[in-house]
Symmetry: C2
């Protein structure tokens, strides 16, 4: 039974723990969900302490957004893909056939489970060291605090900074069947005639896209001439 994972600098005393961390529930009754629960909370804590240390002036909201960027499923599944974790997974036959080893949610969950298993096997400091070795390159290259904000927040702040009223979002249309809905939203400035429309798979997503388009148009007006 293997006692380590390529790309993670840790050797298990108890390789059964590693096996459990790499086993999806489709494979059998001893699977990774409990370890994932544990690993998730440790990852969250270690990343929190790290962004806290590295950004001594950042307000809580910025710290939260930095942490969220690292611990979100997409980032974790990229880390997991990067070290080839999918090839190590034990999946049931159905999941195997349908390509579960590439499914990003399974990759992210299994990575958290491996972290939980390291905590049980080697303790807090060992687990912390592994988390930092995986996440520090990302933590050190986080986008600026402003760029971590979502488009609606950035648009709102841009307008408030200029003493202008908040934008108005209107749901114009909902199309498609329940499982494949498309929402069309308009974002309008109350003090001008600017209006942009956008589509998204949810109302929230469509609003974000609309806000981003409007912000690009507005800030474009101010940076014109700065492009080559």
């Amino acid at each position: 039974m293997t006692d380590s994972v390529p790309g993670i600098d840790y050797r298990f005393e108890n390789p059964h723990l590693l096996r459990q961390a790499l086993t999806h529930k489709s494979h059998g009754p001893v699977h990774y969900e409990r370890l994932e629960f544990l690993g998730d909370s440790i990852l969250n804590m270690v990343v929190s302490t790290r962004v806290f240390e590295l950004h001594p002036q950042a307000p809580e909201g910025d710290l939260s957004r930095m942490r969220a960027r690292i611990v979100r499923g997409r980032t974790l599944s990229e880390i997991a893909s990067g070290i080839g974790l999918g090839r190590q997974l034990n999946l049931g036959p159905g999941e195997k056939r349908s390509g579960g080893f590439r499914r990003s949610s399974i990759l992210a969950d299994a990575l958290e489970a491996v972290l939980g298993a390291i905590y049980i096997d080697g303790g807090y400091e060992a687990c912390r060291a592994v988390i930092l070795s995986l996440c520090d390159p990302l933590i050190e290259n986080l986008p600026s605090a402003d760029n971590l904000k979502d488009a609606k927040t950035r648009l709102q702040e841009w307008l408030q900074g200029r003493g202008r009223p908040l934008p108005e979002y209107t749901l114009v249309r909902e199309e498609g069947a329940d499982h494949a809905k498309s929402f069309h939203v308009e974002c309008r400035l109350r003090d001008g005639d600017e209006v942009v429309g956008a589509n998204g798979a949810s109302r929230r997503k469509a609003e974000q896209v609309a806000a981003g388009k409007l912000l690009a148009r507005l800030s474009g007006q101010f940076t014109e001439g700065r492009h080559d």
Copy 2:
């Protein structure tokens, strides 16, 4: 400057950290929000590891509900009240007049901030020891896994266990102004004529109350005769 909090067995090397943890943003620019961010994540992690250890057979969903019961604002503010944390807080004049030292959200946040400050001042093990001394009595006396489930979940499981269809919730009425709405909801069993109504400050809360009433009525039918 004081270097400890009554009821918390820890003495600060750097009492400025403790002072910051006890200072609400209404009091000045150096306040507890960053420390609260940190303390929240450490508390979450320590409680996660603890329920994981104490309940080796519990599935992930039960562990999540146990943790949620401990780290929720209401539990934390009760702990904070219990040690008289409100008397230590530095609040702005407005918050002081309006009784902010009794406000449960401020008490819970300040407690998390004190935990974050202990982590910075004394390290992980010191912080873990304090968290366990505060939370272990509660963790050891958690309600059963079933009783931690919300009423809608319990009603659903009760019905599923008897092969009966899921209940139907209908919003019957919304009353009152925006800031003081009351929702009236009915919960109906599709295979019988059982129906109960309930009110709540949100649709979700009203549904929970209705589910609880219906479940009490249903399970009462089966336990009749067991009451004295």
